[in-house]
């Protein structure tokens, strides 16, 4: 069965970029355009990896992570994919419970490799 991924970003173009980058690798990909939607999807699905933007309407990526982790969903792997690229932003994200952190702009090729690496762990 193909690994299941969730891409959450309020920028449609970026979602398209991520999805286009990863779709050739045979993943099943869901999309969410804001934090709330992302949270709901995480609740109702078992994703192998969640790619979360930081700045999103409704709930920020950070809030989504905190809520998910607070509710005991420790097993979901979450990757923070954000334009907040400073060192302290990464620290905050990891503290909240992000497993991976990639800053924008990112290289799609690298992203694909990282995702592949994570999913084959």
């Amino acid at each position: 069965m193909a690994p299941k991924l969730l891409v959450a970003d309020d920028e449609e173009i970026l979602r398209m970029l991520i999805v286009d980058t990863l779709e050739d690798d045979g993943y099943e990909i869901d999309e969410a355009s804001d934090g709330g939607e992302a949270y709901n999807l995480i609740q109702s699905n078992d994703y192998d990896l969640v790619l979360l933007d930081y700045m999103m309407p409704e709930m920020t990526g950070l809030e989504v992570i905190k809520k998910v982790r607070d509710e005991g969903k420790e097993e979901v792997k979450i990757m923070m994919l954000t334009a907040k690229a400073q060192k302290k932003d990464e620290e905050i994200a990891r503290q909240a419970g992000a497993n991976y952190f990639i800053s924008k702009p990112f290289s799609p090729v690298e992203l694909a490799e990282v995702v592949e690496g994570i999913l084959s762990e």
């Binding site: 173009i13 970026l14 970029l17 334009a83 990112f106």
Partner: protein
């Protein structure tokens, strides 16, 4: 008894009264007894008489009865009953006569009784004769008997005599009554006499009493009133022995005592007066002594006072005033002054007018002062006293002026000049003065020293206070030695009572309270180390202070050494809040910018990389390229906006301000949207005629571009966008109203913040940098205006911009250029048609002004003078084209302007009747209008008006 009588007035009075009463009583009893006996006598007599009368009457009756019986017998000759009755009656009569006889006292009556007895015997004998005749039936004997007259006459006589008796008894009763009445009247008379007698006696007694008591009492009263008014009285010697006599004697004794006492008192009084005079003499002597003592005391007091102020006063004016005041008292002088020989010629005076003092000081170097300064010893000038000093005295006296130098280090530091009027200074006083001058000089030296240090201190403090940093000087114990104003204002750590020299415990408590709790421990440790002379870990410290506002303060220190000995520390507190804020803002800005740039950059880089690394279909490639292009453009506009906002915030944005017409700008912006808009329709409501303001046209265009593009962007489902102009209180307001998504309530306040974008996925699809509104607001604010917003979620938003209007006066020339002299006025509510016509007309070289309502047209015509009017009939608002036509033709200054009616209505005749120059029925080719215009206007040129085409149409062309 006689003695008691004589000594008691009350007894005399009682005796008199009791005698009087006894007399009354006795007389009354006598009178009573007498009247009683009279009455008694009367009653006895009357009773006796009445009994007599009764017997007499009964006797009379019996007689009559006897006669009647006798006659009966004689007449009827019946023995029984008449003769029996007669015998019975005879016996009764005899009995009664006896009874009567017993009672009768009167001799006449006794005689009558005797007679009566005799008569009765005769009558009986007669009757016996008669009876014999009767027994014999001798009528003739009877007749002769009766005719002989014996019987009847006797009866009649007896009867008469009987009556007489009764009458005489009655008379007697009557006379007895008369006698009684007479007696009673006598008694009454006696009673009256008795009453008069009593009154007489009472009067006599009263007279006697009055003489015996009233007179001496009156004499006593007069005498005592004389005594009380102080006259001497000699009372006549009274021989009486009663109370009055005693009173009089006592009075006399009292008077004589009083007179004696009075004489004694007078003597004593004289002695006392004498003593008092002696005492007065010694008292005035004592008073004089006391006065002298007081003067000495006052002098001593003033000496004390002078010593005290010399020793303790550090205020120069106070000291000088004290010196002169006390010296004048000590020397018992009248006036004087003290002048310091310093630059300012500080002085103090007593008893001299201010202007005189100044005059004296100004000219003192011309007088004796020079000599005093040179010789450095006192100098006395003896002179005639001035009129003022002499006061009201006429005589010529003299005054002495004492000039006394105050020496310090062998130079004169002050001069005292003291004047004494009418008396010289003696040697003893002058000696005293030299001692005092030494003291004064010491005090002045001290004062000078104090002033110098005080001045230095003030200068130091002044320097400290001008420094912008808060500075606090503490000694080795941590006690504050000096603190500048800045420290107080910055941190509110000072104490209100001026005395800031507080121990470490006191000031640090107040100070540390202001330090934010997160920094407090570090600050305390730092301060403690510094005070102890230990170098703290960091040479400076930044802390946050929470006073009225939150401040960021940088604190550093410096240890102070005096001859290599650590004596204290200086703390310097520098307010770096502004730098801190700027720093924070910079960081935030950089971080935000980096975030905002990274997003489009991600797309550009990502898709490029995808294109490079993947084999893609041509459609996908094109899609990617388009995306890359769009994102790159977004990146560009972001960078432009960043630069704008950066410039504006740095205050480096230059505005090329000149008069602009806001309506034209808005029209221009709108045109570009009109062309592309498919879902939106645009409306302009102009509720004003003033669009003129001073501003940078390009920047204002940017503002409207931003607002109108927002209105379009945030109403994705289309709708109308209304732009409304109106004037209020000298400001031109522009509403930009859309029927879009609206803005949530909580977002309204943050709307104009940089990078703020309403969080909503609907909106995320709508691109933007989040800087547009911030930039727009900056621009409008730079023009002196403002931006406000109202919004209802789901219904739309209204942004209201305001710009201050330039005053009419300012704008007058501008207005005349493009409005007043516009050749053609188009009144048309259909903007597109108006635009079409305007293009047509301007192409032909005329300037055009367009308005949408009849009211505006009429208002415009008051000031502008167009050469033609193109008038629609169906207009918005209250006035239609007919109304405008009529109004224009009615007014003197507009009635000659040719009016071209342009309408769908076919009431051609009505138009011409109202004075229209031409009537064009829509739709018509625009050329037709220009032809008509040319025709009409050329005609007008003949009347002397020359039509000059206006080339200010370029703007309009550009905008269209």
């Amino acid at each position: 008894m006689n003695k008691r009588w004589k000594t008691s007035l009350s007894k005399q009075f009682i005796w008199f009264m009791s005698g009087f009463l006894v007399l009354i009583l006795l007389s009354a009893i006598a009178l009573g007894v007498y009247s009683q006996s009279v009455e008694q006598k009367y009653r006895t007599k009357v009773n006796q008489l009445r009994t007599e009368q009764q017997y007499a009457v009964q006797l009379e009756d019996s007689l009559n009865h006897m006669f009647f019986e006798a006659r009966g017998y004689l007449a009827f000759r019946l023995e029984s009953p008449f003769l029996n009755e007669y015998r019975k009656e005879q016996e009764t009569i005899d009995q009664k006569i006896d009874d009567l006889d017993e009672r009768i006292t009167d001799s006449d009556q006794s005689a009558f009784i005797e007679d009566l007895r005799k008569y009765l015997i005769r009558y009986d004998s007669l009757l016996n004769q008669a009876m014999t005749f009767v027994e014999n039936d001798s009528t003739s004997g009877l007749r002769s008997l009766s005719q002989g007259g014996g019987g009847s006459d006797l009866v009649y006589t007896m009867r008469d005599r009987m009556r007489e008796l009764v009458r005489s008894i009655e008379d007697e009763i009557y006379s007895t009554e008369e006698e009684l009445i007479e007696r009673l009247s006598n008694i009454q008379f006696l009673f009256v006499v008795f009453v008069i007698f009593l009154l007489l006696i009472a009067t006599i007694i009263a007279g006697i009493m009055a003489r015996r008591i009233g007179k001496p009492l009156q004499e006593l009263a007069v005498a005592s009133s004389q005594v009380s008014s102080g006259e001497s009285v000699e009372m006549p010697h009274v021989r009486r022995e009663d109370e009055l006599g005693e009173l009089a004697r006592a009075f006399n004794l009292m008077v004589s005592n009083i007179q004696q006492n009075e004489r004694a008192l007078i003597t004593t009084n004289e002695a006392l007066v004498k003593q008092s005079e002696e005492l007065k003499g010694s008292k005035s002597e004592l008073e004089q002594n006391v006065q002298e003592m007081n003067v000495q005391k006052l002098v001593l007091e003033h000496r004390n006072e002078l010593n005290r102020s010399l020793a303790s006063t550090l205020n120069k004016n106070e000291l000088l005033q004290s010196i002169i005041t006390n010296m004048i008292y000590i020397l018992n002088s009248d006036k004087g002054l003290v002048v310091m020989m310093n630059q300012g010629r500080d002085y103090a005076s007593l008893g001299i007018r201010q202007d005189k003092v100044h005059e004296w000081i100004d000219s003192m170097m011309d007088g004796p002062v020079v000599k005093v300064i040179d010789q450095k010893k006192h100098h006395i000038v003896r002179r005639t006293m001035t009129a003022g000093e002499g006061g009201y005295h006429d005589g010529v006296g003299h005054s002495s002026d004492l000039y006394l130098p105050i020496l310090s280090d062998d130079s004169v530091v002050a001069i005292l000049c003291i004047t004494r009027i009418g008396k010289d200074f003696n040697n003893q006083e002058l000696q005293q003065i030299s001692g005092l001058s030494g003291q004064i000089s010491l005090a002045l030296d001290k004062l000078r020293l104090y002033e110098t240090t005080e001045n230095e201190r003030m200068v130091n403090m002044e320097i400290l206070n001008t420094i912008r940093e808060g500075i606090q000087l503490v000694d080795r114990e941590g006690t504050t030695r000096a603190i500048n104003n800045q420290m107080c204002t910055m941190l509110d750590t000072c104490f209100p009572e001026g005395d800031q020299e507080k121990s470490y415990g006191e000031w640090s408590k107040k100070f540390l309270q202001q330090v934010d709790s997160k920094d407090r421990d570090a600050v305390q440790e730092y301060i403690c180390n510094v005070i102890a002379g230990v170098k703290p870990k960091q040479s400076e410290l930044i802390y946050q202070a929470n006073g009225e506002a939150s401040l960021f303060i940088q604190m550093y220190y410096e240890h102070i050494y005096n001859a290599d000995k650590f004596i204290g520390s200086i703390f310097v507190h520098r307010d770096i809040t502004r730098e801190h804020q700027v720093d924070e803002m910079k960081n935030e800005f950089v971080s935000t910018v980096s975030h905002e740039l990274r997003t489009p950059l991600s797309s550009v880089l990502g898709f490029t990389e995808l294109m490079l690394s993947k084999e893609l279909k041509p459609e996908k490639q094109k899609k990617y390229l388009n995306t890359i292009y769009k994102e790159a453009k977004r990146l560009t506009s972001l960078i432009n906006d960043f630069l704008d906002i950066q410039r504006m915030e740095a205050g480096k944005q230059n505005y090329e301000k000149k008069p602009v017409n806001l309506q034209e700008i808005v029209e221009e912006v709108l045109d570009s949207y009109r062309i592309n808009a498919t879902k939106h329709s645009f409306f302009i409501e102009d509720l004003t005629d003033c669009y003129e303001l001073i501003g940078d046209a390009d920047k204002i265009k940017q503002v409207f571009n931003n607002f109108i593009s927002n209105a379009v962007k945030y109403s994705p489902d289309g709708g109308s966008i209304v732009i409304r102009f109106y004037e209020k209180q000298g400001n031109l307001f522009v509403d930009i109203e859309d029927e879009g998504l609206g803005i949530p309530e909580d977002a309204l306040s943050k709307l104009f913040t940089k990078f703020y974008r309403v969080d909503n996925s609907d909106r995320r699809q709508i691109g933007g940098t989040g800087l547009g509104l911030a930039i727009s607001k900056e621009i409008v604010t730079a023009h002196g205006g403002g931006v406000t917003v109202t919004s209802a979620l789901g219904k739309g938003s209204t942004f209201t911009l305001s710009f201050p209007l330039t005053t009419k006066k300012e704008m007058q020339p501008e207005k005349s250029d493009d409005e007043m002299d516009a050749a053609v006025l188009i009144v048309e509510d259909d903007d597109s048609l108006a635009l079409l016509l305007m293009e047509e007309i301007t192409e032909n070289g005329w300037s055009v002004h367009h308005c949408r309502s009849g009211e505006t047209a009429i208002k415009l015509l008051e000031t502008m003078n167009p050469q033609g009017i193109v008038l629609d009939i169906m207009l918005d608002g209250r006035m239609n084209g007919w109304d405008v036509l009529k109004a224009a033709k009615e007014k003197e200054h507009t009635k000659d302007i040719p009016i071209f009616v342009s309408t769908v209505s076919e009431e051609k005749q009505r138009g011409f009747d109202l004075g229209a120059s031409d009537y064009l029925i829509k739709p018509y080719p625009p050329k037709k209008l220009t032809k008509s215009l040319i025709k009409s206007l050329v005609n007008k040129t003949n009347n002397g008006k020359i039509l000059v085409p206006d080339y200010s149409i370029e703007d309009t062309e550009e905008g269209s």
